[in-house]
């Protein structure tokens, strides 16, 4: 207002001051409570990180340790420095998102290119170790090694007095090392500085852990291991397998067969016989090649994919049709007590989904179920065990589960359509059906299309219903993998990976990647479609 020349530099000076003032105010206005919470929170995070680091360094996981350090430093830097507001608000969620959603998806991609699964789930060194361990036999004329069990930081060690009187210490994967400062008692070592000697009671309490320990005699695993049956004396065990590290082969001493590493992730004899466990290797596109060329897998994969699409589409269609029909029926202001019908009809939606499927599975049971024995007077209709009836039953139960949602949503959408449109159409001479078909339905579809698409996406992966109701069955006996007539892709992934004795993580991940690609395709198409629908309006 005042037009004196002095005000010209004013704004600049003031803005600098204003900035400082805001900063001070910002810091002051935070309140000590918020600062306290922040310091406390960071303290907890740092404490956990330091503990984690300690454990990680001990187990020599350097890569993970490095990541922990980097993330902790980043978090501290973000929260202790001024500004960086968006980062302060986004970091907590992003950390979880990065590990448990993005990383795991990428990791699935990696697993799809390996032979990970039963018999192939660790490194080659681990496989060699466990093969040697599992084929151990006690040496017939083994000397008796006197033994004391020691503990240090929760880790057990064997303090061994050899028959010649020399004393050494060792543990799981730590070959025996000579020690000379052990406390002796009657020629037998009973204690060592820095270690706690386990008493008789402790040994009894941890018997199975102690019996499971095998201490290598030397660096060469072929020399044998010391094991103890009672915690006080140990005997030498050697393996019937002989590992030749230079050649990378396993030889069975009894039969004389040589098993060699031929790049399939297991020691294999010339006649094709494998020694399991093997180890995890990268197999390139093998899993995908198997999925698409092996007839016993390709057949089920194709039929499951077709059924997944059919199931998802039909589920959306039937639930939407019934929901819309009911919404129209009950969208009449003259009708009394609509509220009560509405509450009863919403019940299936409120009842936990997995329980509904289990209850329906009971009602549809072929011999004892309510539907067959009471409603059909003792007929034995195989609702869940015939291929086509099971598909129908799954859709029917999903209709029961899903119609209330569609009913609620379409009711809302119908009520949102302005009354004037109906009146205008009536004045123009349109019949009720024409009003519905050409005025209401298009408007309704525009507003519920995104919901229909998300409902499609949900049913595409509607694991609970399928698994709880039919368990994917009836089983397809001709298939090379454990799938049935009502299995959808996600339940097939689960069954290949986790059900039964033969788990195949690699193949399951390859299936998951196929779902991923399908879903991505649907997502792209649906985004385009919804845009075009919105433009229609």
């Amino acid at each position: 207002m005042t037009t004196t020349p002095e005000t010209d530099p004013g704004p600049i000076r003031q803005s600098a001051r204003a900035k400082r003032a805001t900063r001070i105010a910002d810091a002051a206005a935070g309140g000590w409570k918020i600062v306290a919470v922040k310091i406390l929170g960071l303290g907890v995070v740092d404490a956990i990180a330091i503990y984690a680091l300690f454990v990680l360094v001990r187990s020599e996981s350097w890569l993970v340790a490095g990541l922990v350090v980097a993330v902790t430093l980043l978090v501290n830097w973000i929260y202790f420095s001024r500004g960086k507001l968006p980062a302060k608000y986004l970091t907590p969620g992003l950390i979880f998102l990065a590990i448990f959603q993005i990383f795991v998806l990428l990791y699935s991609g990696y697993i799809a290119f390996t032979n990970y699964g039963t018999g192939h789930n660790s490194t080659k060194a681990d496989a060699v170790n466990s093969l040697l361990l599992s084929s151990q036999n006690r040496v017939a004329d083994s000397p008796n090694y006197r033994l004391t069990v020691l503990e240090q930081l929760g880790e057990l060690s064997f303090l061994v007095t050899e028959p010649d009187g020399s004393v050494s210490i060792g543990g799981e994967e730590r070959p025996l090392k000579d020690v000379n400062n052990a406390q002796l008692e009657g020629g037998v070592a009973v204690g060592l500085d820095g270690y706690t000697t386990l008493g008789f009671q402790d040994i009894l309490g941890r018997q199975s852990a102690i019996a499971g320990i095998s201490v290598p005699l030397t660096d060469d695993p072929n020399d044998g291991m010391l094991r103890t049956p009672d915690g006080s004396s140990a005997f030498l065990y050697t393996s019937s397998l002989d590992y030749d590290e230079a050649a990378g082969t396993m030889r069975d001493k009894n039969s004389g067969i040589t098993y060699s590493d031929i790049g399939t992730g297991a020691f294999t004899a010339d006649n094709g016989q494998e020694l399991l466990p093997g180890w995890k290797i990268e197999v390139g596109l093998d899993n995908f090649v198997r999925a698409f060329t092996e007839e016993s897998i390709r057949g089920p994969l194709i039929s499951v994919t077709v059924w997944t699409f059919a199931f998802a589409f039909l589920s959306v269609f039937t639930t939407f049709a019934l929901g819309l029909f009911l919404a129209i029926v009950f969208n009449d202001k003259r009708m009394k007590s609509r509220k009560y019908y509405r509450i009863i009809m919403i019940l299936p939606y409120a009842f936990p989904g997995f329980l509904s499927a289990l209850v329906w599975a009971g009602m549809m049971n072929q011999e004892f179920g309510f539907i067959n024995t009471v409603l059909l007077g003792g007929a034995e209709v195989p609702w869940l065990t015939n291929e086509w009836l099971a598909k129908g039953s799954v859709l029917f139960v999903n209709l029961w589960l899903g119609f209330p949602y569609m009913f609620l949503v379409t009711t809302g959408a119908l009520q949102a359509i302005p009354e004037e449109l109906t009146e205008a159409a009536t004045v123009d001479g349109a019949k009720p059906w024409a009003i519905f078909r050409f005025v209401k339905l298009p408007l309704l579809l525009v507003s519920v299309a995104p919901l229909l698409i998300s409902s499609f996406a949900f049913n595409f992966n509607n694991f609970n219903l399928i698994y709880m109701l039919t368990n994917g069955g009836p089983r397809d006996v001709s298939a090379g993998v454990n799938v049935g007539a009502t299995d959808i892709l996600i339940s097939m992934v689960y069954k290949v990976a986790f059900v039964g004795a033969n788990r195949d993580y690699g193949l399951a991940s390859a299936f998951a990647i196929i779902i991923f690609i399908l879903v991505a395709g649907i997502a792209i198409i649906s985004f385009r479609r919804t845009k075009s629908l919105e433009e229609l309006n």
Binding site: A25, Y89, G93, L105, R338
Partner: protein, 308 residues
């Protein structure tokens, strides 16, 4: 039109007859206009409610099997509810507690993480904001379910080093659920945060409030409805989640209702049907109560979320 009026005017004398005939004609009209709607309503109500009545009746028949469950409400005895808690092999009370605990913590965490992120996206302008929002929209399309194998292997790797948060640990499971927090809910919350006028923030800022105070004491209160919806949906979602819970939780004592009851049913399907039914009824009560009380908000939230 005019003809009928004239006619009506003409036979005023017959009007008593018309009055007598009124209820009958009106019944026809009632049937045509709303009566058939009631018939559909009754049919649909039976369809919707019958399985629930069936399971409730089965639960009131101690020692009942699938066969005895077919005679509805033949007995009225709460014995199965007592038996439910006296089965050491199937620790129902533990399952129930675990489910509430895991569902409660995950949904609180989900709401908190989601609200923080939504606030940043809604109120701040920074590099990568648009990309971030689009990424979240994309990530939303790929449920964690797809990566179930990788989650299992990741957790089994973790449990070699930190058994407390790896396989067979509820903390591990909650962490996995929290990983899905941003993907599913931020967009929903973001839309709602945008409806709160930013002039409120500015006014508070002028009054000297810092960003944290604005967020915790002003914004969070204004967006309470969406927080309730997200919290509820995520609670309902986690309590019935089966796939990840079934591979992570191994000890019966640590499992959730979904995993425990499924195994219960698959082990002794028709024999202990009434105990299963009792378990199902009890398990459904918390979720159904929440749902029926808050159905208005939930439905509103569902529609808002997808239409964004």
């Amino acid at each position: 039109m005019t003809a009928t009026t004239q006619k009506n005017n003409a036979d005023v004398a017959v009007s008593p007859n018309a009055v007598v005939g009124h209820p009958r004609r009106s019944f026809k009209r009632w049937a045509r206009e709303t009566g058939w709607r009631h018939i559909i309503g009754v049919i649909m109500s039976i369809f919707a409610a019958f399985p629930l009545l069936y399971v409730f009746s089965a639960s009131l028949n101690p020692g009942g099997t699938l066969v005895t469950a077919n005679s509805l409400f033949s007995s009225f005895n709460f014995g199965s509810y007592v038996d439910l808690f006296n089965r050491p092999q199937q620790p129902y009370a533990a399952w129930f507690g675990n489910t509430l605990l895991i569902g409660g913590i995950s949904s609180l965490g989900t709401v908190f993480l989601g609200a923080l992120a939504a606030y940043a996206f809604s109120r701040m302008r920074f590099i990568g904001r648009r990309v971030g929002l689009l990424t979240l929209l994309l990530v939303q399309m790929f449920p964690q379910l797809l990566a179930v194998v990788a989650i299992f292997l990741l957790l089994s790797g973790i449990s070699e080093i930190f058994p407390a948060i790896g396989l067979n640990s509820q903390i591990g499971l909650i962490m996995v659920y929290l990983g899905g927090a941003l993907g599913v809910n931020t967009y929903l919350m973001y839309g709602f945060f945008n409806t709160v006028p930013s002039s409120i923030d500015e006014a508070a800022k002028i009054d000297g409030a810092g960003h944290a105070r604005i967020f915790f004491t002003i914004i969070l209160r204004l967006v309470a409805p969406i927080l309730a919806v997200v919290g509820l949906l995520s609670f309902v979602g986690t309590t019935s989640e089966f796939v990840i819970a079934s591979i992570v939780l191994i000890d019966p004592d640590k499992q959730t209702l979904a995993v425990g009851l499924y195994q219960f049913v698959s082990q002794e399907f028709s024999r202990n049907w009434s105990i299963f039914a009792a378990g199902a009824v009890l398990a459904a009560i918390p979720v159904m109560t929440l749902f029926l009380f808050l159905q208005k908000y939930i439905v509103g939230g569902l529609t808002a979320g997808s239409v964004k």
